[in-house]
Structure formats: C-alpha cells, structure tokens
C-alpha cells in the first residue's frame, strides 16, 4: 500500500490528538512532521508524537519536507484561510477541521482557491461516519416511522476553552468580535460555532436544506467566557420537517491544564459529550444516543462518577481512510468545502436570529 506523506499544521484543536494518534501508526499515512508555534508548544500534545519533527512555523515545516502531499489543518478557525492559501499554492491536499471559517467572504475565497487548484479538500464531520447516524438514516429512508415530522437533536459538550484559548475568544473562533445581541458583551463564536455537526446532521438525515431558524441564547454558564455557551434553536427544513436543536456547552468541565490529563478529570458532568436524536414520524419514534458506549468509573483525579468515552466505532480512523482514498483515487470527499457551505450559513443564520430575535429565512 502506498503511504501518503502527510504533515500536521498546528496542534491547537480539540480533535487534533485523535487524528495524530492514528497517523502515528497508520499503514496509509507517513506523518513527516508537525508545526507548532513556540507560544503554543506547552499546550500541544507533543509527548504523544515521539520522533516526529516539530517546526515553529508552517513554512519551515513545508520547506523542510517538499515530499509532503497532504496536510491536516488543525489550528484556530481564524488562521484557516492563511493556511489554505499556503497549502493550495504548493498543491497540497487538505484535511480541514469542522469549521473552515465562519466568515462567508473568507469561505468564498477558500472555495475559489480549491476550485482553481483542484486539490482535494475534505472537512471533518465525524457524525457522517458514525454507525448510529448511518443506521438512523437507513431506518428513516426505509420508512421505519413513516414520514418524519420532527427531529429533536442535541450536541451537548464540555468546553475546551481553558486548554485551547481561541475557542473561547470571539476573533479566534468566529473571526471577529460580534455581540450576540446589540449592546451585549457576550460575543458570537461559542457553542453554535463549535458544533456544526448537529446542523449538518439535519441536512443529512432529511435530505433537505433549512428553510428558517429561530435561535435564542440563555444566560452564559461560564461567566468569564467571552462567547456564548448556552443556546437553543428551532427551525424547519424545506421538506417540512421541524427541528429542535441544542448545541450547548452544557456539560460543565473542570479547567483543563495545558498538559493535564487528556482523559478522566475534565468532567464535572459525568459525560463530556452527548449527541442524541429523537425522530418523530407519523408511525412512531426513534431514539438515538450516538455516544452511548462508555466505561464508568469513580477513579482519579476527582473520585466523581465519570464516563470515559469508549467508542467501538472508530469513526476518526474511517474519516482519514476516506481522505486517503480521495487523494489516491481523486475521489470527491463525503464532506467538501462546497457541500459544507449551507451548514456554515445556517449557523450564521442562528446568530442573526439571536440578534434580531425573530426567525431568519435561509
């Protein structure tokens, strides 16, 4: 099997360690190096990457390794466009974290670059690969509950802003400081921005696009965080399916120290992630818990009841395998930049709705 020479640009993203753990031992990829800026070095998980060269800038990494064919961009959202420009200019295929950018002018610029250069650009959306959503989609398509009337979905998580500070920063996450409502201190860039999956899943499950959304923002749970952490959304798809979405950071966490335990100890609420669906059809109801598999313990460091996620379904690996096939066989990824656009648009529509306090049509 041919191995793709791949590099990691920035390790400053919550999902990054999942990918790099896989890349370290993959038969498909040869991880040749990573770039980590000196100021972020202490927050990265370099101890998990023994023997992998670390460079202080993306340019230094790519100059030192002209053999690189593809990259994983795993940095703050606001830096993504610059990285896309850099990599596309060198003809490198890109595996991008879930939010390429929330700024639609930047998004259009990325689309133009990808189209002109012809590189493979895959957006990571793990819910498209997870067994539970695939099975749910199959059940819906087979008519298990008849015509779908409504989907209530949650993507409730903890917040990693104490580890990766840009996540809790208006510019770092959203690209600019925009108050959620006129005159308020609270900024866009929090729970909605960090949870594109739930918005994408409604498109995937219903085979339809959003008609309108109404969103509201509850008082923030984390009083010292700049961006919104508690939101609720109602909407309707163009095919008539109603949706009720909760992408809040409502699973409270202990502050994460940069090199602290990347596992037990984060949680105040026993589960750090909950992704659930209630699908109501004309003939019945389907309930789904996508992260049901866990190992429960009361061990160190807090001796509090905690679930350690223990997925049997290695969806992060499958996403990278899909990227491998797309690069080798010049195939179209499951989630392209263009295909992801309506999801980013509806997330922005939610912010508009919070600001205007009325439904926003897409």
């Amino acid at each position: 099997m041919r191995k793709i020479k791949i590099a990691g640009l920035s390790l400053f993203n919550g999902h990054a360690r999942m990918y790099f753990s896989f890349l370290m031992n993959s038969p498909m990829f040869d991880l040749v190096g990573v770039s980590v800026s000196p100021e972020n070095r202490s927050r990265a998980f370099l101890h998990k990457l023994p023997g992998i060269p670390v460079y202080p800038t993306d340019e230094a990494l790519l100059d030192a390794h002209p053999e690189v064919e593809a990259v994983v961009i795993a940095g703050p959202n606001y830096q993504n466009l610059d990285r896309v420009r850099l990599c596309a200019a060198r003809g490198l295929h890109i595996y991008m974290m879930k939010v390429p950018t929330m700024q639609m002018d930047e998004y259009a610029e990325m689309e133009r670059i990808v189209k002109e250069t012809g590189i493979i650009f895959q957006v990571e959306l793990q819910m498209r690969f997870i067994a539970m959503t695939r099975r749910l989609k199959k059940l819906i398509d087979e008519g298990a509950v008849g015509r779908v009337i409504s989907i209530h979905a949650t993507n409730m998580t903890h917040c990693i802003a104490s580890w990766f500070t840009w996540v809790g920063d208006g510019i770092g996450s959203y690209g600019k400081d925009v108050p959620v409502r006129p005159g308020e201190k609270l900024l866009r860039g929090g729970a909605i921005t960090d949870h594109p999956h739930i918005f994408d899943m409604m498109r995937y499950l219903t085979d339809s696009e959003y008609e309108y959304v109404y969103a509201d923002c509850a008082p923030n749970l984390r009083k010292d965080m700049q961006v919104e952490d508690s939101v609720c959304i109602l909407g309707r798809m163009k095919n008539g399916v109603m949706v009720s979405l909760d992408p809040s950071y409502s699973r409270m966490e202990n502050p994460m120290t940069p090199l602290g335990p990347l596992g037990p100890g984060w949680e105040q609420y026993p589960r750090r992630v909950e992704v659930n669906y209630t699908v109501t059809g004309e003939k019945g109801v389907i309930l789904v818990d996508c992260y049901n598999s866990g190992m429960y313990h009361t061990a160190n460091p807090n001796h509090s009841y905690t679930m350690m996620p223990s997925h049997e379904d290695y969806h992060f690996e499958r996403m990278m395998e899909d990227f491998y096939r797309c690069v080798c066989e010049k195939k179209t990824p499951v989630v392209t930049l263009e295909g992801h656009r309506p999801t980013i648009e509806v997330m922005n529509a939610c912010y508009e709705s919070i600001s205007r306090q009325e439904p926003v049509y897409l």
């Binding site: 209530h152 109404y214 508690s230 609720c232 409270m252 105040q268 109501t280 019945g284 309930l287 439904p359």
Partner: protein, 236 residues
C-alpha cells in the same frame, strides 16, 4: 402510562373523592365542581429538584430542558400545559415569552424566556404505542451544577424490577409504591398523594381552576406563535 378504569377506580376508593380523566388530565370531582390534579407535583424527583433550587443548592441557572416521549393517547395541548407548569413550578419563576413550533398533533417544541431571564426548552413527542412506557427527562443546568431526573446516559426510564420468569419471553416489570398495605403504580400514587395534599390545603384547591386557565393561555400563545412564527409575550 394512562391509568386503566380499574386503577382510576382504586384511586377514587382510596381517596374517597371521585377521580375522572378528561382532556388529557385527571380531575377531582367535589361539590359539583372539578378540580385539576397535578400529580407531577407529587413526583419526588421533581419536588427535590424544586427544593434544590429554592434552597440555593443550585444557583445561576441558565436553562431548564424538558423532554417527553409519550403515548399517542395523551393530547399534545395537555402535555404542553403539564410541562409548562413543571418548568414554572420547579424554577419558581414565570414564563414571560414563548416561541414554539408544533404540528398540533404529535410534536411540540418550545423555547421560553422566564421572567428572571433564564430560558426553558420543551420538546414533546406523543407517538408511542399505548403499551410502551413513556420517557420524560427534566434537566436544570446551572453554573454550579445540573439537576436531572433520568440517570445520565439513559435514553429510557428503567423499571424497578425485571422478573425473567421461566415461561415468559419478556420480563415482568414492576415500578411500584406501597400506600398503607397495598401496591400502587407510581402514577396512581402520585394522583392519590396530590388529592390528599389538596384536601389538606383549601387555598391550593381554589387556585387549581385559575392555574389551568393560566396554563391554557400560555399553550394557546405557543400554538399561535407556531402559526405566525412570532415570539409571543405572556402577560402576567
């Protein structure tokens, strides 16, 4: 689960008051008048939740989430009224504004703003078969902790006892309480306890009629909100 006629008659016999089921609610008939029963207020998990809020154990509440997946026999409007009452009662707060989406038959989704600025969300689906046990989940989320009445990670409410007997394909299940010397279902026990508490509290008895009117006014506003796609303010 909807009580059977026999179970309802037992409630009548035990309390000495005629209990009837109408329009999705249980009512107590007394002196030619009907009084709304709110058996959910006798639900210990919900009353404990309310106590934790009233005594300040849980502070800086951001949102209360209510999710119900119940049987087809329960009308949507009565389920909505029940959940609205639970939110106001548990939070000891009043709903100031609602935005809702509903098909008026099987699903009801609501975002509400409370007088205090907290938010509530209600998601109801009533398309389960009559013989399947309903699942309800209420969660209060605050800066210093969460309160939830379904075990973390559970999609369905569990029973207290599962008896896998020799000749049964499916287990016999029991979730009961004992009042006096007899076994009652949790639903029966909640009704009996609510009736008994009302009989001891004439003042509360008198407010039940007006309470139903208040709740119906909010439900009506929610349904109107869904039709017009507009937020609706709830006048005090």
């Amino acid at each position: 689960m909807l009580l059977t006629k026999e179970q309802l008659k037992t409630c009548t016999d035990v309390t000495g008051q005629e209990i009837v089921y109408r329009d999705g609610h249980y009512w107590m008939k007394r002196d030619a008048r009907e009084y709304l029963l709110m058996p959910w207020r006798a639900n210990k998990r919900l009353s404990n939740m309310r106590t934790c809020i009233l005594d300040g154990s849980v502070r800086d509440i951001s949102v209360m989430k209510s999710e119900c997946v119940v049987q087809r026999c329960f009308p949507l409007s009565s389920l909505a009224a029940k959940e609205l009452d639970i939110c106001e009662w548990v939070l000891d707060d009043r709903i100031a504004e609602v935005f809702a989406l509903t098909d008026e038959t099987h699903v009801f989704h609501l975002i509400g703003r409370m007088k205090s600025g907290r938010r509530i969300t209600i998601d109801i689906s009533n398309n389960l078969h009559e013989n399947v046990r309903e699942t309800e989940r209420h969660e209060v989320i605050s800066s210093n902790g969460s309160l939830v009445d379904l075990p973390v990670g559970m999609q369905l409410a569990t029973e207290d006892i599962y008896a896998f007997t020799a000749d049964c394909e499916h287990p016999q299940v029991f979730s009961e309480v004992i009042l006096g010397q007899e076994f009652y279902t949790r639903e029966q026990a909640a009704i009996i306890r609510d009736v008994r508490s009302l009989l001891l509290n004439e003042k509360e008895l008198e407010t039940r009629e007006s309470r139903m009117d208040e709740l119906q006014r909010i439900v009506h506003a929610a349904f109107l909100s869904s039709k017009e796609l507009k937020r609706k303010e709830i006048q005090a």
